[in-house]
């Protein structure tokens, strides 16, 4: 592109300027130049001085020496303004854009009258008033300072925000590790019993949990639970619920009574009105008798050794934490050798895929029926895989928790 004729000298000038000169220019006017602040102040002082002198000049009957002094000062001022103007052109990445920018035009207008008028052209004296446009130069300088200030403030705030975010993330990671540490690492060793479990939280912190509790007379308590919602509040409530149930289980061997006691304890310390669905059962490993009570949880499955699936229905009570004084009936079922107990939360059955379809209870029952013959760990792995494959790219909306227990030898 060819520049318009009057600009050719400018272009030629800028072409002559080496990178070294640009480096020098940025020392004085770059946003990080070490002398930028001093230079900026000098220009500002000169602008104010020259505006004042324009006022003084207009006073009639000024002594000659004053006029001469002001004239010399004017030449010096214009020289410095010109120097500044050229520096800005040199430093600008897009010189053309700078020349036609608001500041570029103002800077040029501030010095142009001097050059147009020569050293004294009386017939153009009126044009000298154009020098008053230097007032506008003030404005552009202030604007620049303000913008720079704001940019720096913004950068500082962003840095602080990033730091806070990183800290929050680190704290959440610690909290998550603590929460996972609450979950039992291993099933109590008992002859004829084997169990496996897994929890996959939807967000960093889940509201689901499972628990194995060693009870008097060699009995084992098994818990699966789902706190409403997820995230930090659910995780806190989960810890409170798990601890209460774990403590109360030793004193209330009847599962229904244990849930009733836990419910009352939770209702007394529930500022956020959260609640938890709990399935709690107590297994006597010697006899295979399983007693259970349900506080609003999905009924678990029993996969009989031969393959058929049974659902542990039986009237339950309200979710825990919602209303005190609830009753939770206890039911009994006899496990036979090789039976598997499959406890799960609705994160399994209510996993959605990208087409908005539910994984559903039937799919889970089919998996348990077909693949339930192996070890508990294998079945847990198999179901998690199946759910993950089904969900595909759809985001996990709820915690997925699963516990499988076998009793006796198949």
């Amino acid at each position: 592109m060819t520049l318009p004729l009057p600009l050719t000298p400018v272009r030629r000038l800028t072409e002559l300027v080496s990178a070294k000169t640009r480096g020098f220019a940025e020392l004085l006017i770059g946003s990080r130049g070490p002398y930028a602040r001093a230079f900026e102040s000098l220009i500002l002082a000169l602008v104010i001085f020259s505006i004042a002198s324009i006022g003084v000049e207009s006073i009639p009957g000024l002594p000659d020496w004053v006029r001469r002094t002001l004239y010399v000062a004017e030449i010096a001022t214009v020289a410095i303004f010109t120097f500044e103007y050229l520096l800005r052109i040199v430093a600008a990445r897009n010189k053309f854009a700078f020349i036609f920018s608001y500041q570029g035009v103002i800077d040029l207008l501030a010095i142009a009258p001097f050059y147009l008028l020569g050293f004294d052209a009386r017939w153009l004296r009126a044009l000298r008033l154009l020098r008053l446009l230097r007032v506008l130069k003030l404005q552009t300088h202030f604007l620049e300072t303000v913008v720079e200030e704001r940019t720096r403030e913004l950068a500082e705030k962003n840095a602080a925000l990033e730091k806070a975010q990183a800290q929050l993330k680190a704290e959440l990671e610690v909290a998550r590790a603590l929460q996972l540490a609450i979950l039992p690492a291993a099933f109590p060793a008992r002859s004829g019993c084997e169990a496996a479990a897994r929890m996959i939280p939807a967000t960093t912190m889940g509201g689901d949990f499972y628990d194995y509790i060693e009870l008097p007379d060699g009995q084992i308590g098994l818990v699966i639970a789902d706190v409403s919602g997820h995230g930090v509040p659910a995780a806190f409530f989960m810890a409170v619920a798990r601890t209460n149930l774990h403590e109360l289980a030793a004193h209330h061997l009847d599962p229904g009574e244990c849930l009733a006691q836990t419910n009352d304890a939770l209702c007394a310390q529930n500022p956020l009105d959260l609640f938890v669905t709990v399935f709690y059962c107590v297994l006597d490993p010697k006899s295979g008798v399983l007693r259970y009570a349900n506080g609003g949880h999905n009924p678990p499955y029993i996969r009989r050794a031969a393959g058929p699936i049974e659902t542990l229905r039986g009237a339950g009570g309200l979710v825990l934490g919602a209303m005190s004084g609830g009753r939770y009936p206890t039911h009994t079922v006899q496990l036979l050798s090789g039976d598997r107990l499959v406890l799960f939360t609705d994160g399994v059955t209510e996993a959605f895929n990208a087409a908005d379809e539910l994984y559903g209870a039937q799919r889970l029952a089919d998996e348990v029926h077909v693949h339930g013959g192996g070890t508990p760990a294998a079945l847990v792995e198999r179901i998690c895989q199946s759910v993950t494959n089904f969900a595909g790219t759809a985001p996990q909306s709820d915690d997925i928790t699963l516990t499988v227990l076998t009793w006796g030898t198949p």
């Binding site: 509201g207 609003g296 309200l318 919602a322």
Partner: protein, 118 residues
């Protein structure tokens, strides 16, 4: 989630559509609170019509629980009707159908609400 609220006399029907999951629960709860205790004269009954409600998560249940409590405090009848089978099962399994009345349709919910007042 999409929410349709219509007042018929002193009974307000709320018809949520779609999935009431963790993300939708807060907005739904706020809408219910506004309906129960907003500006102007409070309704005598608020009935949730579940015709177009496809799914309720545990966070969604919590919104119902909080609304039921607010309604009880304000002396407003709070009930559900026309739940889809899957949603109805969630209410039954969780035991919520024992603390919030569930009716077959709007007409029976309305009849029950009026009976409760006389």
């Amino acid at each position: 989630m999409n929410l349709q609220i219509e007042a018929m006399g002193d009974v307000t029907f709320v018809e949520p559509a779609g999935r009431l999951d963790f993300d939708a629960a807060t907005g739904f709860q706020e809408a219910l609170e506004r309906t129960l205790g907003g500006a102007g004269k409070p309704p005598a009954a608020v009935i949730i019509d579940g015709t177009r409600l496809d799914y309720v998560s545990s966070a969604g249940l919590r919104a119902f629980l909080l609304a039921a409590r607010s309604a009880q405090r304000a002396g407003i009848v709070f009930a559900l009707c026309a739940l889809q089978p899957a949603v109805r099962e969630v209410f039954e399994l969780s035991g919520f159908s024992r603390i919030i009345p569930v009716h077959a349709d709007r007409a029976s919910a309305l009849a029950q609400a009026q009976q409760g007042r006389t």
